[in-house]
């Protein structure tokens, strides 16, 4: 006996450590499958690797998820390192450059398997964020095989938020486990009911093969989730409305000055917005090429630059074209419309007719969960930005001497001139200010819309609508008008559909203008009558 043991120790160490040897074999087999051509084989390879217990599994699957798992000439698998260079997939040792490689083929079902397998493997990761997303992946895969690992992970978990997600994941997987007791199942229903989101509802509403008491509890849970979801969806619609309103407000603020304050029907307003968006594109291109580290801050450079560029173009337009046309609205309309076509074609000739890619900085991507509300960061930023722009503009008009002169000129031009104000210059600066604000709007719109020569066209009608509806010449009116139209639109859309909602809003607006031709907040006083 002793001799056998000794023999074993001396010569057959691998047999005595069967678990690790088996893991290596399984991993080897799985990796061969990964090198195949057939999607089904690759998927089976992923699944096998996930449960192989090999210490390299997480690294290999992680590389596959990022598209860094590549095949060399002789079907050897390598991991391409993010910092450059290669590593042999199975051993993790640095490898020489394998020459021509192609990535392992992936489709959606493989991606799903990778997510699920990685979720199970990363439950014990050092980073809490990774553990949370791992638990979320297991929640989606609902694989009862993961329950023991989850139980261990829950026991070891310190972070309460991650722990909750893990418990939810275990609850989701539990329904498919044959040996779970009725009490456990009822507890799982309660856990999911507390989660209360759309995924929990989906899971609870589609349970099969459960004891009657569980089915009953699930039905009650679905009902309660439905109720709270409905409440949240109302709030969500308000947020959508605010967000659309803020976009309209941004687009219309500049027009509120050129059209509202100066009375110029500026059909080229949308093109100022478009120019702002192209400025963003140029700024980002320069930053990408020369200082990639600053990319996150690119919009902060773009905003003032867009203001200056669009503002300068605005001043040039006023000096060269519009000043000859004051008091002739029809000619102004035609001339600025022609100008808008001119600007569009100019941009098309310089940058080409196709969309330009404007990147979204990382801090503006994704969404934040606030109870049942999901607030997308880019929209949130735009709401804040719109408020800031409006507040700044009001402060400029109210508290600066330039603002004072602008108001003086628009209220009584001859009196202002008599007081020594150079009215032509104030006209030019006011138009420049309106155009500059439109340019800043373009920076924001580049984050949610196409950056193409047609960008402005989509906003010109809406902008006029907002300004007329709010009351010409009144910035508060523009703000209230934009938000009202935004929220109205978003509440109508689910009921009537996007096309009909737009029509209903337009018809309602026409009727409103019939009743109150000067909009919601008309200016009063002698200046208006003149």
């Amino acid at each position: 006996m002793l001799r056998i043991l000794l023999l074993c120790l001396l010569m057959l160490a691998p047999i005595c450590a069967p678990s690790s040897a088996r893991a290596d074999d399984a991993a080897n087999e799985a990796v061969v499958a990964l090198a195949g051509q057939n999607f089904d084989d690759i998927r089976r390879g992923v699944e096998a690797l996930g449960v192989s217990g090999s210490p390299r599994a997480a690294a290999i699957l992680g590389a596959l998820q990022d598209g860094r798992l590549v095949l060399g000439a002789d079907k050897q698998l390598f991991i391409k390192l993010p910092e450059g260079g290669y590593q042999a997939a199975l051993t993790g040792e640095p490898a020489a450059d394998p020459g021509s490689v192609r990535p392992v083929r992936v489709n959606n079902s493989i991606r799903r398997s990778v997510d699920a397998a990685l979720g199970a493997l990363r439950l014990f990761d050092a980073s809490a964020a990774t553990r949370a997303s791992a638990a979320e992946a297991v929640f989606k895969s609902r694989d009862p095989a993961g329950i023991p690992a989850l139980t261990r992970a829950i026991a070891a978990e310190k972070d309460s938020g991650v722990k909750r997600t893990m418990e939810q994941a275990r609850a989701a997987a539990l329904f498919a486990a044959g040996d779970a007791s009725e009490a456990d199942r009822l507890a799982a229903v309660a856990t999911l009911r507390d989660r209360g989101d759309i995924d929990a509802r989906a899971l609870l509403s589609t349970l099969t093969n459960q004891p009657p008491s569980v089915v009953e509890a699930a039905a009650a849970a679905v009902k309660s989730i439905d109720f709270s979801l409905q409440l949240w969806s109302l709030l969500q619609s308000v947020y959508y409305g605010l967000s659309l309103g803020s976009v309209l407000l941004l687009a219309a603020t500049g027009l509120a000055i050129t059209f509202g304050v100066m009375g110029v029907i500026n059909m080229a307003h949308g093109e100022m917005v478009m120019i702002g968006a192209y400025v963003t594109f140029v700024v980002q291109t320069i930053i990408r090429n020369h200082a990639p580290g600053l990319f996150g801050a690119s919009l902060f450079f773009a905003v003032p630059l867009a203001f200056l560029v669009a503002g300068a173009i605005g001043v040039a337009i006023e000096r060269s074209l519009i000043r000859w046309l004051y008091g002739r609205p029809l000619e102004t309309l035609l001339a600025t419309w022609g100008l808008s076509l001119l600007l569009q074609q100019a941009i098309r000739s310089i940058f080409g007719p196709t969309n330009q890619e404007v990147g979204t900085p990382a801090w503006m991507s994704g969404a934040m969960q606030l109870g049942g509300l999901s607030l997308t960061y880019n929209r949130l930023t735009i709401i804040v930005f719109a408020v800031l722009v409006l507040a700044t503009l009001m402060a400029v008009l109210r508290y600066t001497s330039l603002g004072l002169r602008m108001r003086a000129v628009t209220q009584n031009r001859r009196m202002a001139a008599a007081m020594g104000i150079r009215t032509p210059w104030i006209d030019a600066l006011t138009f420049g200010l309106g155009s500059g604000v439109a340019g800043m709007a373009g920076v924001a719109l580049s984050q949610i819309d196409n950056v193409s020569p047609n960008l402005g066209q989509g906003y010109i009608i809406d902008s006029f609508m907002v300004v007329v509806f709010g009351g010409v010449g009144n910035l508060w009116g523009t703000a209230v008008g934009a938000l009202t139209l935004g929220i109205l639109n978003k509440f109508l859309e689910p009921v009537a559909g996007a096309v009909l909602a737009k029509i209903v809003v337009l018809v309602a607006l026409i009727l409103f203008i019939q009743r109150k031709p000067r909009g919601m907040f008309p200016l009063k006083g002698r200046a208006v009558e003149a």
Binding site: G67, R111, S243, L244, T354, T376, Y377, N378, V451, P453
Partner: protein, 438 residues
């Protein structure tokens, strides 16, 4: 009826191609090559306005093809001359410019149009003046004109195979049909709805949503798609959303965290050109169905891409499906003219049927009697670099159903422009030409 019936084998197509080539060789007798003048080719694509974004590229590819043909010695011993006009995304102007091309410029054929409404606008002009239009974009079908050759896909060459792919590979049971509100999405969705129902999909598992052109605020529509997809059955979105509206749509999908592994979106109007304007990393795995992708791995395609990038002097310039359609259409026209020995439209129209040329997906496309071409259908998943990873390809070529078998009224119609039938809407029930689609 099953689609399988319509699949021709590659070998059969190859044989047809050889036969056509032989015919072409016999037909082009040098006696016909007369004089030194030029042959004019009209290019009718918008270079300004909303559609310039898509159509300018097609104008450029035509100029490249014509230049290339001239380097090979022209056609029938004459040089080709491109006549470019700009219909400015203005549908009535399309008809005027088409008339100008045919009556004033005396072009031999026209390559042009993108939207269905522009095609409908020029159709009477081409029929009245008896000229030829090559239409390179996927469209809703339900049409066949003697004077038009449709080199883009009909619904059964794009939409239906895509839906089949999702149903088989992703086990999708619930469908969102989302489109822009105009004729192509409406007709395509009508066909898809009828098709899905014929496959046993229930009414409550189909959601249809239309949005206006250039729709930019997708927040609650994407949220409602998310909600529709949480009913416990695998859900997919079939998108016929057009042009400008796509970028904000995909951005919103990314923002609300809808991944292709949860709810895949398969698009029929999103190609390499459209993706060039978006950061595609959040879109990883969403799908598109086309008859050609830039990532098709074969020597012909590589050569074409190299030529195109050299022609545009832009090493990053992408290629797309409608471009390939023009490549096929132009090669077919050249072949038919050589076969007929003249550019006279009547003779060329007759010579076109049966002509087969290599397509860029590795095979031959042939002009069928219904004036549509045979095509392979490819399904691609969007990758991080703006290209498509081809995950499925039909084993053979698919013949277009210009009249959809899934729509009431068009079910009994066929088009066959060979004599003696020579009819675009022959009703097989009544045995008469001119059966209406309504």
């Amino acid at each position: 009826m099953t689609i399988a019936k319509n699949w021709l084998t590659r070998r059969a197509m190859g044989a047809l191609g050889l036969a056509a080539m032989a015919a072409a060789a016999i037909g082009s007798t040098p006696a016909q090559a007369q004089g030194t003048g030029t042959i004019k080719v009209g290019i009718l694509h918008s270079l300004s306005g909303t559609m310039a974004i898509s159509e300018t590229t097609l104008k450029d590819v035509m100029l490249m093809l014509i230049e290339e043909q001239n380097k090979k010695g022209g056609l029938l011993g004459k040089k080709l001359e491109a006549v470019v006009v700009d219909p400015a995304s203005n549908w009535p102007l399309f008809a005027e410019k088409a008339r100008e091309l045919i009556s004033v410029q005396k072009v031999a054929a026209v390559f042009g149009c993108w939207t269905s409404v522009s095609r409908k606008s020029v159709l009477p002009v081409f029929e009245e003046l008896n000229n030829i239009l090559f239409y390179p974009v996927q469209y809703e079908g339900e049409e066949s004109s003697k004077n038009v050759f449709y080199t883009g896909a009909a619904p059964n060459q794009q939409a239906i195979p895509a839906v089949d792919y999702l149903a088989e590979n992703e086990k999708v049971q619930r469908w969102v049909l989302a489109g822009t509100d105009y004729v192509y999405p409406r007709t395509t969705n009508k066909i898809l709805e009828a098709y899905l129902k014929s496959k046993g999909v229930k009414d409550e598992d189909i959601m249809i949503n239309y949005t206006p052109f250039g729709h930019s605020d997708w927040q609650n529509i994407v949220a409602s798609i998310k909600k529709f997809g949480s009913a416990g059955k695998k859900t997919a979105v079939v998108s016929t959303i057009n042009g400008d509206a796509n970028v904000p749509f995909y951005k919103e999908l990314g923002n609300q965290g809808i991944k292709a592994t949860d709810i895949p979106v398969v698009a029929f109007s999103v190609g390499e050109e459209e993706l060039a304007g978006i950061d595609t990393k959040p879109l990883l795995g969403h799908l598109a169905a086309w008859n050609y992708f830039m990532s098709v791995d074969n020597a012909d395609n590589k050569a074409f891409i190299a030529k195109w990038q050299a022609f545009t002097k832009n090493p990053k310039r992408v290629t797309n499906d409608p471009m390939e359609a023009h490549v096929i259409g132009f090669a077919m026209w050249v072949k038919a003219v050589e076969k007929a020995g003249t550019t006279d439209p009547t003779k060329v129209i007759d010579a076109m049927i049966g002509v087969a040329v290599p397509n860029l997906s590795g095979g031959f496309s042939a002009m069928m009697p219904n004036h549509h071409i045979t095509k392979p259908v490819l399904i691609g998943e969007i990758q991080g670099n703006g290209q498509f990873n081809i995950v499925s390809q039909t084993p053979g070529l698919i013949v277009a159903n210009e009249w959809s078998p899934y729509l009431e009224g068009s079910r009994d119609l066929i088009a066959d422009w060979r004599s003696p039938m020579s009819c675009g809407n022959f009703n097989v029930k009544t045995g008469k030409c001119g059966g209406s689609a309504k």
